[in-house]
């Protein structure tokens, strides 16, 4: 799939949402990799699936 084809496909998908697509401002991090961006999040031994089930009950 070429870049143009991809862009057209995304455009078509987003059109399906009518006016529901929104954007908000997030700063682009100076760091380039995901590991470096999230390094200080305090990730710990936890189970996010249990946690999600807990809040979605």
């Amino acid at each position: 799939m070429t870049k143009k084809q991809r862009e057209k496909k995304v455009e078509r998908i987003l059109k399906a949402y009518n006016g529901s697509v929104c954007s908000f401002e997030v700063p682009k991090p100076a760091k380039k990799t995901i590991k470096s961006v999230v390094a200080s999040s305090g990730a710990a031994k936890t189970n996010v699936i249990e946690l999600i089930h807990e809040i979605r009950k």
Partner: protein, 185 residues
Amino acid sequence: MKLGSNTFSKHLKTDQFSEPLIFWDTSFPAAIILEIGTRRDAAIYFAEKLLKDNVCIAFSTHLCSEMVNLIVINKVMLGEGLKSNKEAKKVIDKDPSIISSYIQDIHEAVDNFYGLLGLFKDRFYAILPTEPVVAKSIVEIKTKYKLNQGDAMHIGTMLTSQQRDIAAFDDDFYKVDGINIWCKY
């Protein structure tokens, strides 16, 4: 890698993700921000691939509120030395002021979540579940597959545009026919 598979990492190394857009369930960024272990490693590996391949991401705005909620519960659980998230939720419900002791940690994790989105700047789309077509899809999916409201928000939003690719770790999504769950590790 598709529905029902548990060999995500192995396949991802040889497959090319050709879709221009993928949805995110909250479990995906949550694994990156809150966990340590193989699930987190798989999520980071996959997210880096999405970045490298210039794949756009989309998600229900509900994801952002769920993320903040998860972060708060998790930080209180860790800070208070509680055994489970369930216990932490009970403690918070009883006395929400307990959160104030962990504000700095919470803010840091929230910043990291938005930093993660920032890496996809100009290539992420947040979908409001308020447009009638999205709202109807959510109700339909919830009823059809007996999903809880949170799951239905994500799946219903995705299926509104006939998209079928979602990055998720939530096993409940397997109830839904014909969707491609990426990042099952």
